[in-house]
Assembly symmetry: C2
Homo-oligomer: 81 residues x 2
């Protein structure tokens, strides 16, 4: 069993309205030191695969086909057993 | 300047309908090895703070006041310079 932790973020240059809203809310709460906030997705997938190389290929394919929108989003992932 | 990477997840035991939907979609796409999917939030905050201890306290406070709902969500974070 392999666990994958996938991060999906907007590409730099793509507007992130949710991040902007969170930044505004934090400032209003008094967190004056906040310079920037970006909000993305955290997707944790448990795979019934033993081989790390297979898991890597499978997760990459999932990201490209479903989990990330390659036009506006980047993804990265880490595997752990 | 310190960067914080915050993960917000549903507590175990809390239903995650988005994760269930993603799992179903992955299965339909032929990813038969998927055992479980959980979807959470990735929040990246850039802080204008030099001291790591101060940053840690500030991020903890942000999570408790705004970023996570302590009733149903857990959070964790890592700092990097």
């Amino acid at each position: 069993m392999i666990n994958a932790r996938i991060h999906v973020r907007f590409k730099s240059g793509v507007l992130d309205p949710q991040g902007t809203a969170v930044k505004g809310a934090l400032k209003q709460l008094g967190f004056e030191n906040v310079v920037d906030v970006r909000v993305g997705k955290l997707i944790e997938v448990k795979l019934n695969v033993e081989d790390e190389k297979d898991a890597k290929d499978e997760i990459k394919s999932m990201c490209e086909k479903l989990l990330a929108n390659p036009v506006i989003e980047d993804y990265s992932f880490e595997l752990s057993v």
